[in-house]
Amino acid sequence: MGYKVQWSVLWDQPYRDWILEGLYLTIEISLIAWLFGLTIGILVGMLSESPRKPLAAVSACYVEVFRNIPLLVQLFFAYFVLPLLLPLHLRRHLYEIGWEWGSAVLTLSVYTSAKVTGHVRSGLNAVGSGLRQAALATGLTWWQMERWIVVPLLLRVIVPSITTEFLTVFKGSSLAMAVGVMETTYMTQRIGFQSFRWIEANTVGTVVYLLLAWAVAILMGIVERKVRVPGLLQRGYVVG
């Protein structure tokens, strides 16, 4: 049919600014969520090392709960339900300063951290009990063993599976448009509705995510090569 693709449309104002603003928000939300997700994920994952059974169970439950509820449902929960726990004037204030942004970051952080916790837990298995016994046999205390043997190895072992989650954060940030965050996906649809240039708009959106994925893959590839543990990584540690 008579659809003529015109790429120059994307360079016209206000579309150019919309794309850039969207890209900025996508990167901002994803990186913040990634930092929080990684930190919380590692901490909660380490709880499974705890000799106290209830504490260890917390990390198992954490993974199961947040991995088995769809990200969109969690986002709705954070956006619509969580503010209700606050008194009215605070709640109003929360929506005024942009709770759509906050709920997106919060949800994505928690979701990512649950995934990371899962990887940390299987990473702890990969470190193995032989190494732990050897460490204890040299006279290290339990705490020293964790600090100097288990954690440094763990952080290196989980890198390949963490890469997948880093990629997932960027893709997951697209859901934020459901509560009205104007990130890349939102902006491309806005351009589509405004100009009916759907092909151009969707292409630029897809390309943005593709480039981000490439950037992450290259970055994590470098990290992976730097920290690889010979002999430990080949042991069927496949991301599933």
């Binding site: 049919m1 659809y3 199961e64 709960v65 991995r67 088995n68 509820i69 769809p70 990200l71 969109l72 449902v73 969690q74 709705f76 929960f77 619509f80 339900v81 209700l84 990629l167 960027f170 893709k171 997951g172 940030s173 697209s174 859901l175 448009m177 459901a178 996906t185 491309t188 649809q189 589509g192 759907w198 092909i199 969707n202 959106g205 897809t206 995510y209 593709l210 981000l212 994925a213 490439w214 496949v238 599933g240």
Partner: protein, 221 residues
Amino acid sequence: MTPLQFLDNLLSLILALLRYNVLLTALAILLAFPIASLLALGRLSRYRVISYPIMAYINLLRSSPLLMVMFWTYYTFPMLVGGANLNVFYAALFALTAFEAAYFAEFIRAGIQSIHKDQRLAALATGLKPWQVSLHVIWPQAVHRMIPSLLTQSIIAFQDSTLASIIGLREVAQTTTIINSVQVKPIWMYSILAGLYLVLCLTLSRGVHRLERRTAKLLAV
């Protein structure tokens, strides 16, 4: 919320879940599996004319968000064929199938590659033809190994089917929002929605986990 109202709402959500999410996911998985098998075979092909475009497809779909794929199938593709309107359900189905096929293809490829090369050589030495080796020797073993990861991915697909609410399918997440806009009971409604998914996916993933352990034991022999 009275107990009767609670049951009524729960029933509405379950119906929406069965009618759209479960159906959507089931159809998408059934369609995606054969497509993904072909993609995986093509990806492993010796001929670059075949393997490169398939690799590009798989990487493109795996790095785009599902939401973006849905916008392609719902708004963009119908325009290309002359502005005809595509039913939301079919648009979502199309997107989810294309998306999951890319993920499935990678799991299937991993399954095929996990079978040792010597088996192929041994089977060829017994006089089987190459396609017979693939179909009767490699494929059955590979399927055994890839089933847990395919099932796990299917559970993720079931969760992802809620995204169809954003392009306007009246599935369970949207039904929740609609009921909530009438009754204004957000805490209840979203808790029911989350609880429903939690129970279902937890049960399913437990099942997959048990299957996985059984397969691992079987293959360890």
